[in-house]
Symmetry: C2
């Protein structure tokens, strides 16, 4: 199974370690195409070895080849939102994981969207359970990804 | 011309006044479907008279009916990013306006994306010029919106 993981880069790296842990777990299930998003060396400046168009083209190629998308959406990110819209149009199943934080509320475009599976979690154990349930739901849908 | 204006709500309301000014200018060009985004009464909690699914369905209906989308993307927003992805898939011309700010960088999914017209501005006069040029470019593309 090819997994497109999405998390904020230029939107802010507060959750980089969280992304890393989730990516490590997803790595047991399939191939994570976007492993670099969990790198704690990656700052809000983004990748510096590629220009924006190169990054865009590579990421879209990866997204189109993915069987599923998993996004951590607690830190608001324009790029992650864009990818959610594209994934929906490509009929790629999407799981959005988020943590409730004081003074923050998840977008209605995601929370109120029946095309997106949206799950709140409080710790990594819960995140793992949400991922397991999401993958299991794909099997029910007739997917054969493993 | 029907214009879908997008700006951050739950992502943060730091730019609410900026949105209001841009919406006022767009109102001279066409009908702004999402005028409420410029309301300074609207907080990060979002609209409270509707649930998330009602907001999602209304906004998607508006977006599908729009001739153009104009987004102010300086404050990162998951919802605005999602709408950019959907607008692209609906072949709706999109203008993204942003201001460069210290410690912030625009997403490569937007900046490196040739489907989106992306313009930096420093003040409202420049924003107006960007909007005028964008609308003019639609005429060149054969659009007859007015």
């Amino acid at each position: 199974m090819k997994i497109y993981f999405a998390g904020a880069i230029r939107g802010g790296r507060d959750d980089a370690k969280q992304y890393k842990e989730i990516i490590a777990y997803l790595g047991n299930i399939g191939q994570v195409l976007t492993e670099h998003i969990g790198s704690t060396d990656l700052t809000w400046k983004g990748e510096i070895s590629k220009n924006d168009n190169e990054i865009y083209k590579r990421d879209m190629k990866w997204l189109k080849s993915a069987n599923v998308m998993v996004a951590e959406v607690t830190v608001p990110s324009l790029g992650v939102g864009y990818e959610l819209g594209i994934a929906e149009k490509l009929n790629i199943p999407v799981l959005c994981l988020y943590r409730s934080e004081k003074g923050k509320k998840l977008s209605a475009m995601v929370k109120g969207n029946n095309h997106i599976s949206c799950q709140e979690y409080h710790n990594l154990t819960e995140a793992h359970l949400c991922i397991d349930a999401f993958i299991k739901s794909l099997d029910y849908l007739g997917g054969s990804y493993q």
